[in-house]
């Protein structure tokens, strides 16, 4: 195993570009989707059809002052957005975008992504705790409260897939679906997975830790300027990771007819992201107790039953 400094720098630059570009496009896309679902155009002014709007917003955010509340826990307050964003750089290592475009083939790649995905919650909790704001604290504690309700069904989903393909490596999982995508064998599991990642990325209808109508802006109430935009960047990057994971686990990753591998990866990943946007602008937010009982009483039994049936079928 020899890793040169040059390749590390190339990787960091590449991921930084991917994260930035992804956020720029997704924020624009989100606003466009929201607009058109409500008979509006969305951003139209900066660039053709407002494509450069996010860039203009980004410049505005960079130029803003980073306010720190008087009695905030300053180190935690400043650390929280970084804790939220940095794991993304590591979590993208084992994702195979095509058969050849992959930073590093890890035999436990899936576990790494799941583990690093949890750090996002830590960042949210730090932000909520460090802000010295009751709304932020409520948002942060909600993020922690909901974690078990979605992580266990999510992990059972992933376990089922691992069981079917017999490997923790994302590349092997994708290659195992050469003859038929997992979604064909596990449609219910796919739905459970999509619900779980909607929860994981804190998006409506499960955006409890932000919950504008209840908690002002939840955990990032006190953040301004770049602190706020780092959280934003993190949210959209986690969406990208979760959607890329979904495309590899259920839709066969880069494999598909006619088009090259990278195109298929992008189509599948952004298709799932569009699905999540579609959810956001269709469903109203549920209450936190409804979501918790849904997680424990519906998602968990469904995924467990599915797991047991799959295990039984595989054993036969």
């Amino acid at each position: 195993m020899n890793i040169s400094l040059v390749s590390v720098i190339c990787y960091l630059l590449g991921i930084a570009a991917l994260v930035g570009l992804n956020a720029v496009i997704l924020v624009w896309l989100e606003r466009k989707v929201a607009g058109h679902m409500q008979f509006r155009y969305g951003p139209m002014e900066v660039g053709p059809h407002g494509i450069l709007q996010t860039l203009a917003d980004g410049i505005k955010l960079v130029s803003k002052q980073l306010l720190i509340p008087d009695n905030a826990d300053k180190p935690l307050f400043l650390l929280a957005p970084i804790v939220s964003l940095v794991p993304i750089f590591a979590a993208m290592i084992p994702i195979p975008f095509t058969e050849t475009i992959q930073v590093w083939e890890l035999n436990i790649g899936l576990l790494l992504i799941i583990a690093l995905g949890l750090l996002n919650t830590l960042g949210i909790l730090l932000a909520g705790w460090g802000s010295n704001n009751k709304y932020a604290l409520l948002g942060g504690s909600r993020a922690v409260a909901q974690i078990l309700a979605y992580k266990i069904p999510l992990l059972i989903c992933i376990m089922t897939i691992i069981m079917m393909s017999g490997s923790y490596s994302l590349r092997d999982i994708a290659l195992a679906q050469k003859d038929g995508w997992n979604i064909l064998y596990q449609p219910v599991l796919f739905i459970v997975y999509i619900i779980a990642i909607t929860l994981e990325t804190n998006r409506s209808p499960f955006d409890f830790s932000e919950a504008e109508s209840e908690l002002v802006a939840g955990f990032h109430t006190e953040y301004s300027g770049m602190g706020f935009s780092l959280f934003f960047l993190a949210e959209y990057s986690y969406m990208l990771i979760a959607a890329a994971l979904a495309s590899i686990l259920f839709l066969g990753g880069w494999q598909g007819p006619f088009l090259p591998g990278l195109a298929w990866t992008l189509i599948k990943t952004y298709g799932i992201i569009c699905l999540m946007m579609w959810f956001r602008w269709t469903f109203p937010r549920v209450r936190i107790d409804q979501m918790l009982s849904f997680g424990w009483k519906v998602l968990l039994p469904i995924s467990l039953i599915n797991f047991l049936i799959t295990a039984g079928v595989l054993a036969l």
């Binding site: 058109h36 008979f39 509006r40 602008w281 269709t282």
Partner: protein, 152 residues
């Protein structure tokens, strides 16, 4: 039995979510209602009431107003000032000053209704904005028309 109802509830809920998603997807393909002001004009209703304006006589281009001051006297807000005199060689009086105080006008339309020669009408001019009320408290409605007095 309870479990059966529970499962049915979950399935029904899931179907209702799909219905909602169908509706929002349908919305995506309906043309947005937004008017891209100022590059597009907003469609005005046929009887839109802008500030009042003077109508010109098609033949001469002069205002049709005969300066009878009915409009000024009927105005509940007293926002119209009109004076007139006879141009040389003419039989009837014509207006030489018609000012509207648009800051007071309530667009009730009594002046338009009462005008005996139908010289007044509502304009369709709605893009009115200024930094000072002085732009609107003495609007000269004769500005855009030919005048029989300055011509001589």
């Amino acid at each position: 039995m309870m479990e059966c109802c529970k499962i049915k509830e979950v399935l029904n809920g899931f179907l209702s979510l799909l219905t909602g998603m169908k509706i929002t997807l349908g919305n995506m393909f309906i043309k947005p209602q937004t008017v891209q002001w100022p590059r597009q004009e907003a469609p005005l209703p046929a009887r839109f009431r802008g500030h009042i304006m003077m109508l010109a006589n098609d033949a001469t281009g002069f205002p049709m107003c005969i300066a009878c001051t009915s409009c000024a006297r009927n105005c509940p807000s007293q926002c119209i000032t009109v004076t007139g005199k006879k141009p040389e060689g003419a039989k009837r009086k014509m207006t030489n000053k018609f000012e509207l105080d648009f800051t007071k006008c309530s667009l009730c339309g009594l002046c338009v209704e009462v005008c005996p020669v139908n010289a007044l009408d509502f304009s369709r001019d709605y893009a009115l904005a200024s930094y000072t009320h002085h732009d609107f408290n003495r609007m000269n409605l004769l500005e855009s028309l030919d005048s029989p007095f300055t011509a001589n």
